[in-house]
């Protein structure tokens, strides 16, 4: 465990050092994240300006969902996409061989090898948005703490889905697009689930569990979440994490490594 932490520290410090070689990226990330946020706020305001409400969600409450969504996006672009999208590349180029020959969990290596500081603006804007909405709604510290648990479950589920999709590159080799599809579907997490028709709600809860990523943590923050949903999120996360591990081991049995 201590060794893993030490390795993780080195992974991340080298990743940041490598990324900072390219400084202009930061400005671009900042602008694009700001643009995205303004876009979604504008979209939301169109609904609420005319007095329309998502069933049971006030303007500020919806902002909490959007804030959590932005936070999640920041998390994905910081931790998930730089690593998990690279699995495809490693399989294609055969550098996965080096990873597999290291006396350390290959799943750990592939999941944490690098991190991109360019998700930072999203993380900050997400927090700002949640803080603003929380202040308007008079939320206290306990509200925020409550939401952390389902949020962690949500992140674990997201990671698992993403990793499994990346791992399918062992069979299909070129699947850059598959993670884009996942990203597209996750966009649905921008608004509370009640914003969608029943069929979609079912899909985003039980097929691609987007509901567990944003709506349920937001409900927990607003002290509206039912315990059953939060435990459900917990089981889902644990189940998916376990499935990811099993799936990776299974996939490796098919790995033939790129020929030179």
């Amino acid at each position: 465990m201590k060794r893993y932490l030490e390795v993780l520290g080195l992974f991340w410090s080298t990743a940041i050092a490598a990324e900072l070689e390219y400084r202009a990226n930061f400005l671009i990330a900042l602008l694009s994240s700001l643009g995205n946020l303004i876009g979604s706020l504008f979209g939301l305001s169109l609904f609420y300006r005319t007095g329309y409400n998502f069933e049971g969600w006030s303007w500020e409450e919806t902002l909490v969902v959007l804030g959590i969504f932005t936070l999640l996006q920041g998390f994905s672009s910081t931790f998930l996409s730089p690593n998990l999208n690279k699995i495809v590349q490693q399989v294609q180029q055969g550098t996965l061989d080096f990873v597999l020959l290291k006396p350390i969990s290959s799943q750990f290596w592939l999941s944490t090898r690098t991190l991109s500081p360019w998700g930072l603006p999203d993380l900050i804007f997400g927090l700002v948005l949640i803080g603003y909405a929380g202040q308007q709604l008079g939320l206290g510290l306990s509200n925020y703490l409550f939401s952390i648990i389902p949020l962690i479950f949500g992140l674990a589920s997201l990671y698992s889905l993403w990793f499994m999709l990346g791992a399918t590159s062992i069979w299909f080799v070129k699947i850059y697009n598959v993670t884009e599809v996942l990203r597209g579907l996750l966009e649905a997490g921008r608004y509370p689930m009640v914003a969608y028709p029943a069929a979609y709600r079912f899909f985003f809860t039980f097929v691609i569990p987007v509901a567990f990523l944003t709506t349920i943590p937001a409900e927990a923050m607003l002290r509206r979440a039912e315990l059953s949903w939060v435990t459900g999120a917990g089981f889902l996360a644990l189940g998916l994490l376990y499935a990811t591990r099993a799936f990776w081991k299974f996939a490796l049995r098919f790995y033939t490594s790129a020929s030179s």
């Binding site: 080195l10 050092a17 055969g94």
Partner: protein
Amino acid sequence: MPIVIVENLSKVYPVAVKEPGLKGTLRHLLHRTYRPVQAVQDVSFQIEPGEIVGFLGPNGAGKTTTLKMLTGLIHPSAGRVRVAGHVPFRRDVKFLHKITLVMGQKQQLLWDLPALDSLKINAAVYGIADKEFDWRVSELVEMLSLKEKLTQPVRKLSLGERMKAELLAALLHRPQVLFLDEPTLGLDVNAQVSVRDFLKEYNQRYDATVLLTSHYMADITALCQRVLLIHEGQLIYDGNLDGLIEQFAPYREVKVELAQPRTEAELRPFGELKAVDGTIVRFLVRRGTLTQTVARILAQLDVVDLTVTEPPVEEVIGQVFRAGVVA
């Protein structure tokens, strides 16, 4: 006891078959047919600790596939492999500490950062303490003459320096068995020589076992007492280099300098003509009739000078692969 044991090793890959043209592409997309390709077929050999063995064969002969089965990256279809007492495919932590793989055309070092950063990661992964790390790095840096190169971003190193840094990263954990796939690929002659010298020294200093593939015969002749020749997945020769020449090139080249030029018709009776260039004539003569032929040449032609040489190893091996000779 041998450190590498390979018995009746085989690997069959399913390879998708695609007919040319649009029709073939469409069919390929909807319904794939696979054809089994025998990449390695019933290969057996053993390697003793401390040996340097060259693994030769044309592209696609099955060298890399065999190396990958020995390192545990792919699972054999049939046969038995033991490396340092382990079954490679299980990739036990203990096994991984004992081996290393260097691939000339792939790199593990981080491109944008100094090699030292990558080395530190490897040290942490292999659990090498700081003091030990410093010591090992300084020793290897000296052996590789890489001084001051480790603190430059890898992308700014020359190809030769990069390869040396790759070797350093691959050897930091002091593996007992080194699998090297084309370690000198694309290097200039000087860099090739220094990589070679390093491998030789490393082998002697740590009694490490080395199995290497290379397209450069000079690597093989400089390093390997023993070679394995693989062709179309089958092992066709296992022994030392001299034996290889005996077995596959049972002829000598006789170079004769004549006093005055002769026509080819006049020369042909003495042996197979390889080249005629004015007064310089080269014959290929079977070893069995060598003394007789040389005696006849000396008796019947005006000879200024005469030398007998073995054909170069490259030529012999090239011939073996072209003809597909199977011993």
